[in-house]
Symmetry: C2
Subunit: 325 residues, 2 copies
């Protein structure tokens, strides 16, 4: 009886959240310990490393960091689907080899067009539509279409351990942002539901957008073409333009995140840099320096010198996707 | 005794903030009533016009809406001061007539250079400096330098009624943003202290910014040149790029705010558009359709048709500046 009362008293003093493991899908390895130690010290007012809430900003890459990116960035797969839909209605849009290859599902032909070809596919598939209609279309696809090899929806292929990490940081007074090379409008369509991140905390590449009154209706229109590329050195630029402050925590998975990692962790005071290393061929995909998508070489090589924590997916995560136990 | 107890009970039930006038520097006119009616209905869960907190986004122009803008946008005055400082150290930067006129304080000569000349002055005064150093410089100037005619610091020339309005909206679950034609880095240097608005809720024009490692230090560098102009049709574009949602409340004072007013108030459900009309030559400045700075004509003419509330500074405000009673 005394013991029960004691347990009850304890439960009243320490809310359940403080007792439960905040990162249940992380194995008990050095990566989890490093995260918890960092969050503990920056949130403890008695610690010399205490950081006020206003400065607790955490930025996350999306493709390969918060959800999968194989066989291709999901937005690329969306673009191919939309291109095929458009070509079905109007084959005359297939004006060159790259677009015809994309329509035929000939990925070698697409890749032969290089970056210019990919931008062309994005242009055809992402333009001539209002921002609102585009977001609705992206949301439907991400939550409805099935991934070619896993059979999961794309929304189900977010990483459970990273979703837990986002929540854990927010529970500790952090503001969590996505900072991705992917398009803002694409990610915003699901950011709140998938990650608990509101649209205004999503930073990404931007297509050209125009404001026009069409048939009496004020409309924001995706015109095609790229206005801002939020990748590599563009990531720190995107962060300072949008947030106006340097983050103290960042997570990425490729060399496209190198400058974001470098800038974030070069600041004074406590800093945390995390790299998701795709080591799990059995449960997900294994790749790094030889991959076309999400190439990780320089950031991996320089991680020890910078003190970046390299997460070994196979060893550090007990579960991969939110949509599959 | 009974009455006293009753008053005490009332004070316990209604917190002090609910009893106090939330807009003490607004006279009891139709403008104040319209604001309070709007906020009351969108925050009342029983109202058909209730708006969930996530959608309570309010956007404010800055120059002429939250602080004064005469004789010139304050950032323009800052640019002239910095140009003179730089020219003192190195007169060779004065490479043409516009820069020489600016250095000599010859405003007619500056205006003769048109918009191109003004951009040139901004380029010379706002470039070759890190974002952090620029913000420190802007902060020092805004809080230290004195306005040419009022003798107040620029920070003291924010409008007390608008600062109260920002607080009132935030107290009612709104997120308040600045959306200005002025430069983001300039405004962010004081936005929190002046308006209670954090850096990440300031949207504005953007200069070109580059990320470089200089002498081993990762740095964000203002390069000169304009990357994004957040004015006129650029305002809705800036809002959708940064926030990803349409606001429900907006305030401006010039035709540069027309599209922001138009887009915001064209949305479904309850919407509020406010125009600050500079009618008070005695306490501030009186101007509208014939002014070079903050020209207000089209938005004023179309205000009745759109239902925008036009604030008459002379009649609606009992106090103008935060720094002067």
């Amino acid at each position: 009886m005394y013991r029960l009362a004691g347990a009850l008293a304890l439960a009243l003093v320490f809310p359940l959240t403080a007792l439960a493991d905040p990162l249940p899908s992380w194995n008990d390895t050095a990566s989890e310990t490093a995260i918890v130690d960092f969050v503990t010290k920056v949130t403890d007012p008695a610690s010399p490393d205490f950081v006020p809430e206003e400065e607790r900003i955490a930025v996350f890459d999306n493709d390969g960091t918060l959800w999968s990116e194989k066989p291709l960035y999901f937005q690329g797969l969306y673009a191919l689907d939309k291109l095929r839909e458009k070509a079905k209605a109007d084959p005359s849009i297939l004006t060159d080899d790259v677009l015809r290859a994309a329509n035929a599902g000939d990925m070698k032909g697409v890749m032969a067009g290089g970056e210019k070809g990919l931008v062309e596919i994005l242009n055809v598939s992402h333009s001539d539509i209002s921002v609102e209609d585009f977001q609705a279309s992206a949301r439907d696809w991400i939550t409805g279409a099935k991934h070619p090899t896993t059979g999961l929806t794309y929304a189900e292929m977010t990483y459970q351990p990273m979703v837990e990490l986002l929540s854990y940081l927010r529970d500790n007074g952090f503001r969590t942002y996505i900072v991705s090379g992917g398009g803002v409008d694409f990610m915003r369509s699901v950011s709140k539901k998938a990650y608990g991140i509101p649209t205004w905390q999503v930073i990404g590449s931007q297509g050209k957008t125009a404001y026009e009154v069409r048939d009496g209706v004020p409309t924001l229109w995706k015109e095609g073409g790229i206005f801002f590329l939020d990748d590599k050195a563009g990531k720190p630029v995107g962060i300072i333009s949008d947030i106006g402050q340097r983050p103290i925590f960042t997570a990425g998975n490729s060399d496209g995140d190198f400058q974001m990692l470098e800038w974030t962790t070069a600041g004074e005071g406590p800093r945390f840099g995390l790299i998701v290393h795709h080591t799990d061929a059995k449960r997900e995909f294994a790749y790094d320096r030889d991959s076309d998508v999400g190439r990780l070489a320089e950031a991996l090589d320089q991680a020890p010198a910078h003190g970046w924590v390299v997460v070994d997916m196979a060893k550090d995560w007990s579960r991969i996707w939110t949509g599959a136990k």
